[in-house]
């Protein structure tokens, strides 16, 4: 009971802090970039991180197993991972556009996890016998780490596509553009880059130079992030295969979840290969990565929604049923 209350409080703290962080982002977007506000959003992210970590730890202590046994826990873990991704480049002190992706992603995953859809999962339960293995920690955490990383990377690629084809998007559909403007913060980053650069420089500015620079940066970052995610995905899938050989008697069963993980792997392998061709680098590879974004969601979520196959632990039923 104590743990349940603690978890409840922690999720609410993290969710409200992250909401405040998002609001700060929006304010800085609409008004002006204020130094103090930016710092406070960083502090907010740290507070969120600690409360999510606290939540996971208390889950672990109270249930006695690694807190990754159902969709709710995995979503919380996902947002935790997104925070880790948010922090790693900060430690190296390199400026990057990752935070523009990670912050909204964290709030979306958290928001979904705490929404009413999954209420019956909020209580931790006894682990089903098939999951009682050390491999759970290795396989599932690796998979979720890789999902988070790949999601970030493919969102960066999607942002690249949008920035590059912004004008055609305008032409294409005004509504869509408004939607994208609201949700893709990198767009905003681009505006910033342009604005601050205009302020700081005195020599003639080529209109497309900053756009070019930004897309180059996005491209490079998405490549780095996706390669990291691909490595993690490989390790995760292979750990799963070894576990499957122990638990189900065969290392590969063509179970839907497995198959979709393999499809994800293939798509990002295509991305990495398409990058080696200088003609395809940039737009084409970004397109592949954006497809990969959808594929990850099918793999992570769509298969669970259907609840088919051997990986049905993470599945959930909608309240109407």
């Amino acid at each position: 009971m104590l743990f349940a209350t603690l978890e409840h409080i922690l999720t609410h703290i993290s969710f409200s802090t992250i909401s405040i962080v998002i609001t700060i982002h929006l304010i800085t977007l609409l008004v002006r970039e204020l130094r103090g506000l930016r710092d406070s959003s960083e502090k907010g992210m740290i507070a969120t991180f600690f409360s999510i970590t606290g939540f996971l730890v208390s889950r672990w202590v109270s249930s006695g197993h690694f807190p990754l046994s159902n969709l709710y826990e995995s979503l919380i873990f996902l947002s935790w991972t997104l925070y880790i991704l948010h922090t790693i480049p900060k430690i190296q002190n390199s400026k990057n556009d990752l935070s523009t992706i990670t912050t909204p992603s964290t709030i979306l995953t958290q928001g979904f996890a705490t929404s009413g859809l999954l209420t019956e999962m909020h209580q931790s339960t006894i682990l089903v016998p098939a999951l009682q293995s050390q491999w759970l920690m290795m396989h599932v955490s690796m998979m979720l780490l890789s999902y988070a990383t790949l999601l970030c990377g493919s969102l960066l690629s999607a942002a690249l596509l949008i920035i590059r084809f912004r004008n055609s998007f305008d032409f294409f559909s005004l509504k869509k553009n408004v939607f994208l403007k609201t949700f893709f913060f990198s767009e905003i980053e681009y505006l910033y880059a342009k604005r601050s650069a205009l302020k700081n420089t005195s020599f003639p500015v080529f209109p497309n130079y900053y756009k070019y620079q930004l897309t180059e940066r996005l491209d490079s970052w998405s490549y780095r992030v996706i390669s990291l995610g691909f490595t993690l995905l490989t390790v995760g899938i292979l750990c799963g295969a070894v576990w499957a050989n122990e638990a189900w008697g065969s290392y590969w069963n063509w179970d839907p979840k497995e198959t979709w993980a393999f499809i994800t792997w293939t798509i990002f392998a295509i991305y990495l290969h398409s990058r080696t061709n200088p003609n395809w680098k940039g737009t084409n590879s970004a397109l592949v990565a954006s497809i990969g974004f959808l594929i990850i969601w099918i793999c992570y979520f769509g298969i669970n929604l259907l609840g088919i196959g051997l990986h049905s632990y993470g599945s959930f039923t909608l309240p109407s049923k």
């Binding site: 490989t234 390790v235 008697g249 393999f262 392998a269 295509i270 061709n277 298969i303």
Partner: protein, 468 residues
């Protein structure tokens, strides 16, 4: 401080120019002029077949330095391979006597070029991904009648998909269908061709260090900078401190880091081939079966074993065990279904799935379902034994291990730096294959550390003479 291994001053007999005199002229030509820029399509082409250039050391007096551009990544080969396949190429080496052999060789080369073509490999991967997705969408392993019913001919799904579309290519068992397996095999051959024609030659090229005496070439690198009043020796020491392998010769310097990151993709491909080979072995040589034995009876292993040396494998589990841990056991027939959470009580449902009642085996009370009287006499546990042998597992596991390791190493980037002492100025250029942003940041940081010399010219000369 410079250790003998890391700061190597080459003696003049060491080949600094990698011209192969015996090579056929056109290829030499192609290789020589594509040196510094990113994407030499032509050099990629020449590399496709014969990058086996061996430094002969015969041309040490040459002033023209050929530094090999780090082996071009897969795609350039791929892109170029098309052209190669299209264009005629004179085969110079083959004698007139064995024209047939020449023909065979040319044919193999072309096949290799086509197979190692990157767009082909990518489309294969896309096709495989699409088929796998299709395999999860279509229900697998049902009886043909199921597909007749679900994809009727008179009312096709999406207007055209009938059962013929599914049953003819064998998509009802996608993952063992000839189309899918054929594509996998094609991908495997592509992998092999790519490894052979592109990646293995890359090893030979990337292993060598190469100097350049042309400041122009250095300035053309992705990252380039020039340091006025600096000494190349200082730069070498600083680079060494940052983990680079540094080589200097006269006024020029070459440094690299993370060569493993260049080699690892080869390992990835080999590991994939290993896994594929192991999986093939599993598919052909493995055996699986299970015996189900009700309580009080004996196992008849012979029921599942075929007479070919099958070793009994470790997995043995019982339904009873799974019952005790909370899952349920049930049987279903057309008229009724039964559900036993434990052996004490059995829940009965009728045809529509409506709950009828609960009976204990000991109660001897009959229950009526859809007009039939059912009497639960006894419930006995039943246990099973799964037998499995899979000779492919060790190979597949070896492949798994290698794949994990090599993909991790692949994340490292291979950085190369060239520098040239040009009077009192040091021209520095470098490039890397993966972490481009981090590389330029790192370079800026390192170059900031290079001390500025006050009386430049003398100092440079002094350090140069003493550092040997």
């Amino acid at each position: 401080m410079p250790s003998p291994t890391s700061c190597l001053l080459l003696n003049p007999s060491k080949p600094s120019s990698f011209r192969r005199l015996s090579a056929p002229a056109p290829h030499l030509h192609a290789r020589r002029f594509h040196v510094s820029c990113d994407a030499p399509r032509g050099s990629g082409r020449s590399g496709g077949g014969r990058r086996e250039a061996i430094p002969t050391g015969a041309s040490k007096a040459k002033k023209q330095i050929v530094f090999f551009d780090a082996a071009p990544p897969v795609s350039q080969e791929g892109g170029a391979a098309v052209e190669k396949a299209g264009g005629e190429k004179p085969t110079t080496k083959v004698g007139s006597g064995n024209a047939a052999l020449a023909l065979v060789r040319r044919a193999t080369k072309r096949t290799l070029a086509v197979l190692s073509n990157l767009p082909l490999a990518i489309s294969e991967m896309f096709a495989i991904a699409a088929l796998m997705a299709l395999g999860t969408v279509i229900d697998q392993g049902e009886a043909p009648s199921y597909y007749f019913e679900k994809f009727p001919e008179d009312n096709p799904v999406f207007g055209f998909i009938t059962w013929r579309w599914i049953l003819t290519p064998g998509f009802d068992h996608m993952f063992s269908s000839p189309v899918f397996l054929g594509l996998l095999a094609l991908l495997a051959t592509s992998l092999m061709a790519c490894t052979y024609t592109t990646q293995l030659p890359m090893v030979k090229v990337a292993r060598r260090w190469s100097f350049t005496h042309s400041g122009e070439r250095i300035r053309k690198q992705e990252f380039a900078d020039s340091l006025p009043r600096a000494s190349i020796q200082d730069l070498g020491v600083i680079l060494m401190g940052a983990g680079y392998e540094v080589f200097t010769k006269g006024p020029s310097l070459y440094a690299f880091k993370g060569l493993a990151g260049r080699y690892a993709p080869i390992g990835v491909h080999l590991a994939m081939l290993f896994i594929m080979a192991g999986a093939t072995l599993s598919a052909t040589g493995s055996f699986k079966g299970s015996v189900d034995v009700p309580q009080g009876l004996n196992f008849v292993i012979g029921d599942v074993m075929k007479p070919r040396g099958v070793s009994l494998l470790h997995r043995m589990f019982s339904i009873l065990k799974s019952m005790s841990t909370g899952s349920t056991w049930s049987t279903m027939t057309v008229e009724r279904s039964m559900l036993a959470r434990d052996l004490q009580s059995i829940v009965l449902y009728d045809q529509e799935g409506k709950f009828v009642g609960v009976r204990r085996p000991s109660s001897k009370l009959p229950i009526e379902i859809n007009g039939n009287e059912i009497l639960i006499e006894d419930a006995i546990g039943s246990t099973g034994l799964d037998l499995k042998t899979d000779p492919g597992v060790p190979i597949v596991y070896a492949g798994f291990g290698a794949l994990m390791l090599t993909t991790c190493i692949s994340y490292l980037s291979h950085s190369q730096i060239w520098a040239l002492q040009d009077g009192s100025t040091v021209v520095v250029g470098g490039k890397t294959n993966r972490a481009k942003l981090e590389f330029s940041e790192e370079m800026n940081r390192l170059l900031d550390k290079v001390p500025e010399l006050i009386s430049a010219d003398e100092n440079v000369l002094n350090t140069k003479s003493t550092a040997t």
